[in-house]
Structure formats: structure tokens, C-alpha cells
Symmetry: C2
């Protein structure tokens, strides 16, 4: 096991990363220290890992709230359900929520913890690659609104993150691959050497090689922890973590939550972010190609689904949180390993980019 | 006009208090500085003051969201409605919400501002006495849950509070009186001289005398600002502001939101808090009598409504936010002008106190 610390003064917290973290109950006990705990999970993850978590906790002081699985349940209604369970069991301000699941469970539980009685502690136990490298770290919590993803939320840091590799044993291939999109993002925004390492280790990553995974998760968490520590509430640099996400969120919202996995939408978004960067004269053609190649090698989509026309995507991007004073803001890549936010993107340029990279009419032709 | 500042470092903000603040548009313009504004109000206040507010703002950059009036609408559903309006109008993170109304509008709008895109600015324009002396100041925002009042919320400070006395011209007598309960609370928890002043000026306050009101509001805001500055997130001393509120919230929840006004429930709660303080050997009998007398003189209730039995009130108090580790915590008065939090109250003592102070079976007999 190794530990990455997110340095945020009195809100600093550890990300414990390793194998066997759930099987041994020591870490969970140390983290929760006998407090009252509400474990929030979903009906797909709970049958796999709930018993392991409950085994480490005092049954008298523990309750569970199992929600239906899926992004379409990341709503205020689910938050209300968690709050109802907390109130029915008379959990006070000194309780802890424990999010056991992927990004949806983590975002939702974190937001419930942020607003229950104006804020209680929570612990992240991410069980997907995407959650371990991205959503469980950094304190962004949120639920979706029919008109936009993550539009209702709060910055609320967990008191600890426990990332157990062993949970990948049960992770479906499609979800595993989706998590790799965020890993590629970290290379693109901040570490060219890591991007190169991903290129040379793509086969090991596809095969879920433990050593390769350990390095990929650790480096991803280190990069995210460093960016978050410098700009917790996204006043500036933290926005680079959203590379690919403005396009990605528009695809997710436009196609209906749950059609594309978040990581798949981000992969497509990364491709468009690179195209945009090249169009602006920043990234060069070889870097665009290398990015698309790496994403494809990892089994990720890089073409936008045909049902969503370009003008609808642009309309959806207009409600993104990256909008300031009516101007769309995009994260672009200066070169692989360096990113920045730009607010000067003409709509005509977006249309041009969106006209390419459409998925083939008939997949059989591709 | 005078200004009280809530000192919270880079989140400090002014409370402007005076007459004619809405009639003159200078202050509103200065506060909002040409930003996009969503004015949130209700269908009772909007017909009275919305035009004055809109007159000070750029129509191109302003939208309104008018909700139904009443505590029963202080819900997540209303927050979702505000968010829908914000998204439909494509308001970004740089927008400002303006709460025009009483405590319900302020708490609800503040919470919507706290969670919309993980937090946007908001301005409080309180139009009731209760909101001007209490709820608009200090950054507590929340909505109710069927199982408990203010159970879903956030600490989110406004960027400014504009308290215009002129709005009292249209405030119904019952609501005006309800606001005085919180004013009495400030004397009880922190300023014996102010309590004595309230006793000698109760007639002027009943008559809404401008000079008396100015003093009462100013002193209330000063006391609240000082307490909040010392303990923004209620880790300790800020809890004394909840004097009477544990009882009060239980009455509001138990009778159904909207039956008692919040200030009326607080008035009854203050009486029980004083009874409890006396029972603990803190406040003396004369102080209990003086408090009940002052509340009655100001036209406020001090007996609990008969439909709610004592054991149900105790049950409801068990879900209050003041509960820690299963123990009820009560704010008590050591003597008038000094309060503290106690966690050692036996249930038998609560039952004893609740057995007194029940409203007469037939009001005609009283």
C-alpha cells in the first residue's frame, strides 16, 4: 500500500492505494474510529463488497442505503432518499457517510454529506478505475439536472480515500476501459513522460497488470492531488482537469445519462480537445494522432455518436459550468504535458472540428 | 443608513440597514455591478417590491423566479425549480442570485446559490423583521425535509445584505411580531442591557416606531455578526444563537410547516428554554417571568399548542441538528445576557417542563 496526501491544511486527507485494503479491516477501522457510519452503495456493487466493509464496522453503529445503479440516479431525489434514511436512523452531525462504488455513488454520497445538516464527514471507497483516479479525489461532489450534468453540487473534501485494486477483479471491461480515459488525461495536461509511459505500457494496462495499474493510479492521484492542493475551488488552474469534459458532458447530457459511460464521453472529448488545440496552432498533428491512437489502443471511442448533431452539442456546451459571462471556455493542450484554459474560441471553429470525428454511418464499414 | 460588517476575512460582507434603500437604486447597482442577476421572490412579496428592485437592474441581464409563498415550499423541489430557471436562461458561475423576501426565500435562495454549479454569489434583500435580524445574516442556508426542519443545507455567506425598514409598511402584524422573538433572543443570550431596553421600549416596538426599530435591528445584527465572526460553522459558541430553536423546530415540524410562524415557535421555545434554565438552577424565577412577560407584551405566544403531546415533541427534538452522539443538546441561559450549550439534560426534566406551559383547552377561558 502507498499513500498520496491531498494537502489542504486542516482539510488534508490521505488516499490509500493498494491491494487487500477491504479484505483487511484495519484501515477501515482506523479511518472510522467507532463513529456512526452510513454506507451508501448501489445494487450492483453492494452484493460484491458490502459484506467486506460491514465486517470491519460495529453493526450497532452502522446503517446502509443501497440505491439503484446508474448515472440516471445521480439526482436530488437520490440525495433526498439518503437524507431520509439518515433522519429515520437519527444520525447526527457527528456521523460519517461512506461511499462504496464508482463515480456516481461517490459524487452523490459526497453531495449528501456536504448538505446533510450543513455538512458531515465522508469517506470514499471507490470501486472503479475512474473513481480511483479521478472522481473520488478532490472534493467535487454533485448531482445531475435534466438540463446539465453536475449542475447541483458542492466542494466537500472526504476525510480519506481507500482505493483497493482488488475491486477491479469484478469491474466490467467497458467500465475499466472508461477509467483509462482519465488516466490519459493526466498525461496530456501535466506529464509528457507519463503519457509516453502509457504509450509503452498500453498492453499491460489493457490486461490489468497489477504493477502497471499501480503506477498509473499512483501517478494519476499525485497529479490530481497537486492540482487540487493549488486551487481547491477551481478559481484558476484546477480547470485544466476538465480537459475533454466540456465536449464530454455535452455528449452525456445530449444522449441521455447512462448511454455513454462518463469515461467514454471524456475519451471522445479528449479527441476533440486535441483537434481544437491543433486548430489553434498549439498541439501539432503528430500529437493529435498519438492521442487518438493511444485512446483507440486502450479500447476507447474517439468519434462522436451520429445521433447528436453539431449544433445541438454546441447548444449543450453553452450550459456547461465552464461558461463565464456567456463565453464558452475550453481547456486546450499547448503540447502533450501542458494545458491551459481559453475563452476565445469562435463558434465557427467548433463547428469545423465537430464536422470531423463523427462515427461512421455503418459500423461495419469502418 | 448604517452598516454592520460581518468580519470573515475574504468572505466579509456589509449589512446595510436603513430607510429608502430600495427606493434609491444606488446601493443595488453598487452591489451588483452590472452582473447577471436572478431575483428570487415569492408571490406575496414580488407584487410589492419586485418592480423597485428590477428598476435598479439592467433588464437584459436580469431574470426572475417567483415561487409560491410559505414554509411548506422551502424544499429541494423549489431549489430544483430555481436551478431549472438558471439553466434555461444559461446563467453561469459568475451570476448573482438576489433573495427578495423573508426567511423562507432567503434560506432557499441562499442554498440554491450554495449548490448551483458548486456555488455562486448571492445577495439578501430581507423584507421581514425576522429575516433582517436573523436569517439573512450569517450564511446559514437550508431547505426542510419532511422529517426535520433545515436538515439539508450549507454554510454560504451572502456578498451583501440590504435591509430596508420601509418593507415593514406592508408586513402583516403577525409576521412583524414573530420577528421580535429573535430580537428578544439576542438580549437573552448576550446583552442584558439590550433586554432591559426591550422591556422599556416594548410599546414603541409594537407600534413599529422607526427609531426603536432602527436600534433593535442594529443591535441584533451587531450581536449576530460578532457571534458568527467568531464561529462561522458552529463548531462552538455560535450554537447559542439557537436558544429556543430546538423546542421551536420540533413544534414547527410536528404541527406541519406553516402552522406556526418560525418566530412564534421560537417565542414558545424561548419560554421553555428559560424554564429549563431555571430547572437547572441557572436563571432565577424572576428572569423566567420577565422573559414570558416581555414576549407576551410583544404579542407573542409562550404556551405550546395542545395538539402536540410532550413525548412527540421530545421525539421530534431527537432529530434536531443539535444532537451529538445520541445526546440532545440545549442552549440554556445562565442569566439574562449569557447563554451556553448543555448536553446533560435528562428526559424526565424535559417532560416536567413540557407538562407546564400548555395552551389552555379553551382559549376563551384564558
Amino acid at each position: 500500500m502507498f499513500t498520496v496526501v491531498v494537502e489542504l491544511g486542516d482539510r488534508s486527507y490521505p488516499i490509500h492505494i493498494g491491494s487487500g485494503l477491504l479484505a483487511s479491516d484495519t484501515l477501515l477501522r482506523q479511518t472510522l474510529q467507532g463513529r456512526r457510519v452510513m454506507v451508501v452503495s448501489n445494487d450492483r456493487v453492494a452484493p460484491l463488497y458490502l459484506d467486506a466493509v460491514l465486517g470491519a464496522l460495529d453493526p450497532e453503529r452502522t446503517a446502509t442505503c443501497i440505491l439503484p445503479d446508474g448515472e440516471q440516479h445521480k439526482t436530488l431525489a437520490s440525495v433526498e432518499r439518503i437524507v431520509t434514511d439518515l433522519l429515520q436512523r437519527r444520525f447526527g452531525r457527528d456521523c460519517v457517510l461512506l461511499a462504496l462504488g464508482g463515480g456516481v455513488v461517490g459524487d452523490l454520497t459526497g453531495f449528501a454529506a456536504a448538505v446533510y445538516q450543513r455538512g458531515v464527514d465522508f469517506v470514499q471507497v471507490p470501486t472503479t478505475l475512474l473513481a480511483q483516479v479521478d472522481s473520488a479525489v478532490g472534493g467535487k461532489t454533485a448531482v445531475n439536472h435534466a438540463l446539465g450534468k453536475n449542475m447541483i453540487g458542492a466542494f466537500h473534501q472526504p476525510i480519506a480515500v481507500l482505493s483497493d485494486f482488488d475491486t477491479f477483479a469484478t469491474l466490467p471491461a467497458r467500465e475499466y476501459r472508461a477509467g483509462l480515459a482519465e488516466v490519459v488525461k493526466y498525461g496530456l495536461i501535466s506529464d509528457a513522460a507519463f503519457f509516453a509511459w502509457l504509450q509503452t505500457h498500453s498492453r499491460e494496462l489493457q490486461q490489468r497488470d497489477p504493477a502497471a495499474l499501480a503506477h498509473a493510479i499512483r501517478r494519476s492521484c499525485e497529479i490530481k492531488a497537486e492540482v487540487v492542493a493549488g486551487d481547491e475551488q477551481e478559481q484558476g488552474r484546477r480547470a485544466i482537469l476538465n480537459l475533454g469534459h466540456t465536449f464530454g458532458h455535452a455528449l452525456e447530457t445530449g444522449l441521455g445519462y447512462g448511454t455513454l459511460l462518463h469515461g467514454e464521453a471524456v475519451a471522445i472529448g479528449l479527441r476533440f480537445a486535441l483537434d481544437l488545440s491543433a486548430q489553434l496552432g498549439l498541439a501539432d498533428a503528430a500529437e493529435v494522432t498519438a492521442t487518438i491512437e493511444l485512446l483507440r489502443t486502450l479500447g476507447l471511442p474517439t468519434s462522436r455518436p451520429r445521433p447528436l448533431p453539431a449544433d445541438r452539442i454546441i447548444e449543450l456546451m453553452g450550459v456547461d459550468k465552464k461558461v463565464r459571462d456567456g463565453r464558452l471556455r475550453f481547456v486546450v493542450v499547448n503540447h502533450i504535458g501542458s494545458a491551459e484554459v481559453r475563452a476565445d474560441i469562435a463558434q465557427s471553429m467548433l463547428l469545423k472540428i465537430l464536422d470531423r470525428g463523427v462515427e461512421p454511418e455503418d459500423v461495419a464499414q469502418s
